[in-house]
Amino acid sequence: MMTDGPSQAYESDAVSSRRPLPGILVAGTVIVGVFVLLALLAPFIAPFDAVEQDIPNKLAAPSAEHWLGTDEVGRDVFSRLIWATRVDLPIGFLAALFPMILGTFLGALAAYFGGWVDFVVTRIAEVVQAFPIYVFLIALIFALGPGVKSILITFTVVSWVLYARLIRGEILRIRTREYVQAAEALGYSHARILTRHLLPNAGRQTLVYFASDIVLALITLAALSYFGLGVQPPTPEWGAMVAAGQRFLRTQWWLSVTPGLVIAALGTGLSLISDGLDEWLKDA
């Protein structure tokens, strides 16, 4: 009898010819790139200062001078939207980056060394996961006091778990593959194997997840600022701008509408990158 082994045609690890970048990945990169440029070039692009008030000219309608009008203390809304890129983008990025670093580090450690290291990390991860993360977010920020530092600490404490699980699972899966075993047999050091072989592979999913996690961090940051628990006035921040404008919804609706659109635009760019990376790196 023949044995029905895995079929060769679609299990091949052979490197296929360079695959074209998916259109959505390009589109997402362009969108996010524009925001990065806005953040970097804000002083040159924004027509007005972010915090300087002009009370006599408050709540002005959009005009040639103030494209999106002015807010309740006369600041140029268009300029504040641009300046806020310097706040939301880096905080959102860091709020996803720190947990990624912590989670990847702990997950890799747990998977690679196993034993009690794995046991401890896995148990802590289980406990953190069982908790209603976002509610604890509010409570923790309450305990630590509002502000950017609390937000970053809180995000790191609550959302490293997924990265750790991801990387741990991936490493456990990959390390049974021949090339890693071969590398071990050739006497390469642990660190070298970890960086050369395991992380590049396990890193794919992490990257995909990281991109979508920034979206979540951005929205959560905006929500916390909307509550008044995040970025404190007068620093321009999109969520806080929505909140400030909500009082004038009947008359100056654009005050609340435009910051939301900006968040959605940046979020869409990041989501496109996440989906595009997924498509691009999948069984590459």
Binding site: M1, M2, T3, D4, G5, S7, Q8, A9, Y10, S12, S16, R19
Partner: protein, 332 residues
Amino acid sequence: MVEGRMSKPLLIVEDLRVEINRHGSIVTPVDEVSFELQQGEILGLVGESGSGKTLTLKALMGLLPPGVVQVGGSISSRSGDVLQPLDPEKARGRIMAMIFQEPATALNPLRRVRDLIAEPFIVGHGVARNEARAKAVALMRAVGIPDPEQRSRAYPHQLSGGLRQRVMIAMALATESTLLLCDEPTTALDVTIQDQILGLLVELKRERDLTLVLVTHDLAVVSELCDRVAVMYAGRIVETGATADVFANPGHPYTAALLAAVPRFEPGGGDLTTIGGSPPDLRNVPSGCRFRTRCQYAFEECATAGHRLTHVADERQTACIHPAWIERGVAI
């Protein structure tokens, strides 16, 4: 076993071609496959893993997986005295049904066995639910499931592999189809169960006047049960004919190699992969005869040979162009 030879084709498959497009490169796992199926016969379909047997059957059923498409060929079936193009959408569950290789995953895990078997009665024949359930229990008895009343209330995961495969067979019978495509129905089962299931299929075939296609790895099974055999290699049929003739006098070096690899037909004895070399990567098949890179008889012309099956005798076809092998095929 020659009882099926009445030359009344029930199904004619011509030049069936199936393609898979993966990242822009196209492979052809089933390539210009042609065969006829006679009313009332058992046709054996053999070949190494990956040679395209399953995809051939799935193409007939119109059940190719996503991304795998039939790009050519015609399938016609006979109803009464006329041959007409077969519409798999309509034929499924009416004139033909398929039995799959993996009884563990083929059954919906959330439904009770009796409802699984009753469903074709309800859907295909408008039988009321209670009556369909009664018929399901009767069928369970017919396919040799002990304690059918009690087991009819079980869920698939509560049954052994052999019983699950019997349930699968009962489901196929419930469609009242006369053509059963069996894709390695016993490969996933214990050796002791394999004979029972095959015995059951043959018995049902006799009782119900069925026509079977039997995909198997086991040449002993083919020689024992199948009236005719078709040998597949790398997506193509390389030889067909009456089982006894083909086995006695293979008309293709690949068939000969398959037979030589098996110590004279002991069930479960031997492994076809002991032929030197391995089947070609479908993305990179040799020109001409696909077997030539493993064939000890290959000569220059093989690289440009077409792969049409040529009649070498009545009901005997081979794709080999080597005169010696055509001779052997004729020499019956």
